[in-house]
């Protein structure tokens, strides 16, 4: 279970959020500029809140009063970035294995094969990121985050840089991820249609604050005023 209560001033814009996320896929939903990426960057430890608390499974990751701030490398939270951010000087295989390598654990062939099959990237292992299509890159990015055995997986609009056909192609993989990977997801998006299939819970973010939390029905109600 993830508890987030943080505030941060970003120039003229203030983020002040409070929400809880349990298993399944929690969608952080809102327009561009609502502060969604800032929130997950705070969860990952890439952005330091001005004040607040972030607790994951009873593990305090950040607490401004107690002066606790666990560095991102020790939070064990996977992050799939909007642009993928694959390491260009490593092959796909080494990219996928990077998290495991950093952890010091032994290589687990079964886990590796499972992730590779889940995302259908087996034929790409020897390639370099520079030679992958957008869709392939994002699947490898998901695989890389998954193979570090995270306690939580953050996805920042992973389909935003893809065209409609690629999105349709990858969504099933993300649904499988939610169902078969046994790790809670926090999925950031501004596209209601895209996340309707994935969301088990929705947290609506507007101008830096949480305005509503609920189930998938939140996406239907607001779909009319949200141009995807």
């Amino acid at each position: 279970m993830l508890v987030v209560e943080t505030a941060k001033q970003l120039g003229a814009f203030a983020v002040n959020v409070s929400f809880i996320s349990e298993s399944g896929a929690t969608v952080l939903f809102g327009q561009s500029g609502a502060g969604k990426t800032s929130v997950i960057n705070m969860i990952a430890g890439l952005l330091t809140p001005d004040r607040g608390r972030i607790v994951l499974d009873d593990d305090v990751l950040f607490d401004s009063k107690a002066r606790v701030d666990v560095p991102p490398s020790r939070r064990r939270i996977g992050y799939v970035f909007q642009e993928g951010r694959l390491f260009p000087h490593f092959s796909v295989q080494r990219n996928l294995d990077y998290g495991r390598w950093m952890s010091g654990h032994a290589f687990d062939p079964a886990a590796f094969r499972h992730a590779v099959e889940l995302l259908d990237i087996g034929h790409l292992l020897d390639r370099r990121p520079g030679k992958l299509s957008g869709g392939e890159r994002q699947r490898v990015a998901v695989g890389r985050a998954l193979l570090m055995r995270p306690r939580l997986l953050l996805l920042d609009e992973p389909l935003a840089s893809l065209d409609a056909a690629r999105k349709r192609e990858i969504l099933p993989y993300l649904e499988r991820l939610r169902d078969e990977a046994h790790v809670p997801l926090i999925y950031v998006s501004h596209d209601a249609a895209e996340v309707r299939r994935i969301a088990t819970r929705v947290v609506r973010l507007e101008a830096g604050v949480v305005t509503e939390t609920g189930g998938v029905e939140l996406l239907d109600a607001t779909h009319a005023d949200m141009l995807a």
Partner: protein, 231 residues
């Protein structure tokens, strides 16, 4: 026939040795300072930046003289190093290496710094989320991606060191076999009427070495860049 006298050949070997040692020793410092200047903000940063740049703008002879009053046999640092570690710079090839290293340092740092600044820090953020602490991020992401710049910086420093003259001759004088590098040897030969032919031979050797170094640098940097971009 193209033959070098023993003295001239010694000058060539000495130059290569001095340039190689100064480059290899300067490299870890160059990488460290370049990383610091590229990535960190701190009080006194402008001062450090200026000091690193200084050997590039000071007259070489002035740099040589400064080396003399700091690292000379009876100077503060020089005496300390000689008494406690047995390292002597005065009138030794080690002094030539120090002079070359200092003169080449700004070029090395600049090339490496540009290369590090060009690295997308978002890749390092991604590495952090995957469990890499600062040291591992530097070793597995920053350094490999900065490699073309590091190679360029090293070769630049090497060729600059090969050509060093003013600071070297002021600091450790012009002793054949010990501190007489190619440049000093050529200079000495041109001061003597009969030395022109030998001077020309050394000039040709110098040009050849520089060309080989530049071609090697270009080739290495291309290979490193290709490897980074997934060829």
């Amino acid at each position: 026939m193209f033959e070098l006298s023993p003295q001239d050949w010694t000058a060539v070997q000495l130059s290569l040795r001095v340039a190689a040692v100064s480059t290899v020793v300067a490299l870890p410092f160059g990488i460290a300072i370049a990383t610091l200047l590229a990535r960190k903000e701190f009080w006194g940063k402008a001062l450090l930046d200026a000091m690193v740049l200084l050997p590039l703008v000071l007259p070489p002879v002035v740099t040589g003289y400064l080396l003399l009053i700091v690292f000379g046999r009876r100077a503060p640092v020089g005496a300390f190093l000689a008494d406690h570690f047995g390292i002597v710079f005065s009138f030794r090839w080690t002094g030539a290496a120090l002079a070359c290293g200092i003169m080449a340092f700004p070029l090395m740092v600049r090339a490496i710094r540009l290369s590090i600044e060009a690295i997308d820090t978002r890749l390092e953020d991604a590495a952090a989320t995957l469990g890499a602490n600062r040291v591992w991020r530097f070793a597995t992401i920053t350094l490999p991606l900065a490699l073309p710049g590091i190679i360029a910086g090293a070769i630049l420093a090497f060729t600059r060191a090969l050509g060093e003259f003013g600071a070297t001759i002021t600091f450790v004088s012009n002793i054949p076999g010990e501190t007489q590098t190619i440049s000093a040897a050529i200079y000495t030969l041109t001061q003597v009427p009969s030395g022109d032919a030998d001077a020309l031979k050394l000039v040709i050797v110098s040009v050849i070495i520089s060309l080989v170094a530049l071609i090697a640098a270009e080739w290495l940097a291309r290979r490193a860049t290709a490897r980074i971009h997934g060829a």
